[in-house]
Symmetry: C2
Subunit: 283 residues, 2 copies
């Protein structure tokens, strides 16, 4: 029969925490003075507390620990809990590891350039996307602008099926680059509009569905002249964070007006590269 303060010292658990465990019913003192409310513990409670600390150390919630302590579960149920927890921890491990890589990449970047990067790359899942597009070999990157005109013309009255708040004066456009390495000329690119439903194809304009994918993405704000930096930033990130490019990259503009003017400084472009984690390949 010892008081809470001494028990606290023996088991190295703060007094407040012991009171909390009492409150939630996890570890009740063997006796509570009816008049003063003083809590009294005994050495015989050590095994129970040890179990609490052990399970807490494995990351179980107090509620789950309560279940285990109630002794009402079979070994089979216990196995189930452990397997579930195992899965959770594995996932958490992957997350923490990628955080570590991410922080290290940022540190490297800041060591090299001695300034905080303009571009922030994040990983996001995108859903399958229906598009109307024209693909062609272009003399240079800027030439993609002309392709948008072609798509626009080919759609005709179906422009209203293009995604965006006001299709006439601001839709969502998408430029794709199929080259697997950087090229100044003979760029294999495409211009596309996002669709809410299928429209008839016409000429070089085809309709197809871009697949769902995990994307490394960043946002470029300003004219296209400096968009190369954004691509560079994203490629550096992909390398430093242990990913690999697995398809054509996309340049997405929300709320473009037609015709496209590549030097508009108010443009906001999201650049996406489909990626997969190295070492998780499905080949």
């Amino acid at each position: 029969m010892i008081k809470i303060g001494e028990f606290s010292k023996v088991v190295q658990v703060p007094v407040a925490t012991l009171r909390y465990y009492d409150q939630v019913g996890l570890l009740k003192p063997i006796e509570v003075d009816r008049f003063t409310g003083y809590r009294y513990y005994s050495a015989s409670q050590l095994p129970r507390l040890h179990r609490i600390l052990a399970l807490k150390g494995l990351g179980f919630s107090l509620e789950q620990i309560g279940l285990v302590l109630a002794e009402g579960l079979t070994p089979e149920q216990m196995r189930g809990m452990l397997r579930l927890r195992h899965a959770q921890i594995s996932q958490q491990l992957a997350e923490v590891q990628s955080q570590l890589l991410g922080v290290e990449a940022r540190l490297q970047q800041i060591e090299k350039e001695d300034k905080i990067s303009t571009y922030d790359v994040i990983l996001k899942q995108v859903e399958p996307l229906l598009v109307a597009s024209v693909r062609a070999i272009l003399p240079n990157h800027s030439a993609v602008g002309a392709l948008f005109g072609e798509v626009y013309a080919a759609m005709g009255a179906h422009v209203s099926e293009a995604l965006g708040p006001h299709p006439e004066n601001g839709g969502q456009t998408l430029a794709l680059c199929y080259d697997t390495e950087f090229k100044e000329n003979e760029v294999d690119g495409a211009a596309a509009f996002m669709l809410r439903c299928r429209v008839p194809e016409r000429g070089r304009m085809k309709v197809h569905e871009l697949p769902a994918a995990a994307m490394a993405a960043t946002v470029h704000h300003g004219s296209y002249n400096t968009i190369g930096e954004a691509h560079e930033a994203i490629l550096t990130w992909i390398d430093a964070n242990g990913y690999r490019i697995v398809g054509p990259d996309r340049e997405i503009n929300l709320y473009h007006t037609m015709p496209i003017r590549l030097d508009d400084p108010s443009y906001v472009t999201e650049i996406q590269y489909p990626v997969e984690k190295i070492g998780t390949g499905n080949e």
Copy 2:
């Protein structure tokens, strides 16, 4: 100028979260309708949100992210934040990894014995400990009981310096085992009392300080006959969790009465083995 719902879809962040970011000042809409309170966002806010998501992905708190977004910090400060975070993540990584090992160990144990273990092993730091002890080669493990009598006698009037609530009828005792491998006889063991201050030595009774250490510990409740199981459990744990024994183990009894009676079924014994993580050796 788009409404919160559509912005939410584009950036894949829940509406409630956007409202929350508005509330805490992390991302204010570019415009709020004075009459309806409707929030309006624009594509130009994408870079800011991207930065928020990127930093959140590295595990920074919203408060820290707010600081970064305020642009008021130098690259040097940013480096500092990143290094700090790096240290935190490394620690978290170690913790998650040991959780994974721990869960796997428990799963193995339950697969093998098909019951939930009686013993829960935890890791704890113990502080340096002043003890009065008698060390000797003993014919068997139970013989340590006699040594306690010798310590008790050697302390004489200084018994009052022994730790525990009432030194006469219940003190804290400690049995040490210096063998590096299990022995049935010729056990190199010691019996000790914990002291609050130094007392004079007498005969075989010596006073010295046990070093601080990280301990793998468990609690045995009941007579000494079955204490072997507790040792076994702890040794299995040490192996499965990637630790190594680095010193003599301790058996600690809180609130022993003198003389020691080894078959008392109400005894509670904490068993500790000093350990270090394999791969973190200081040699």
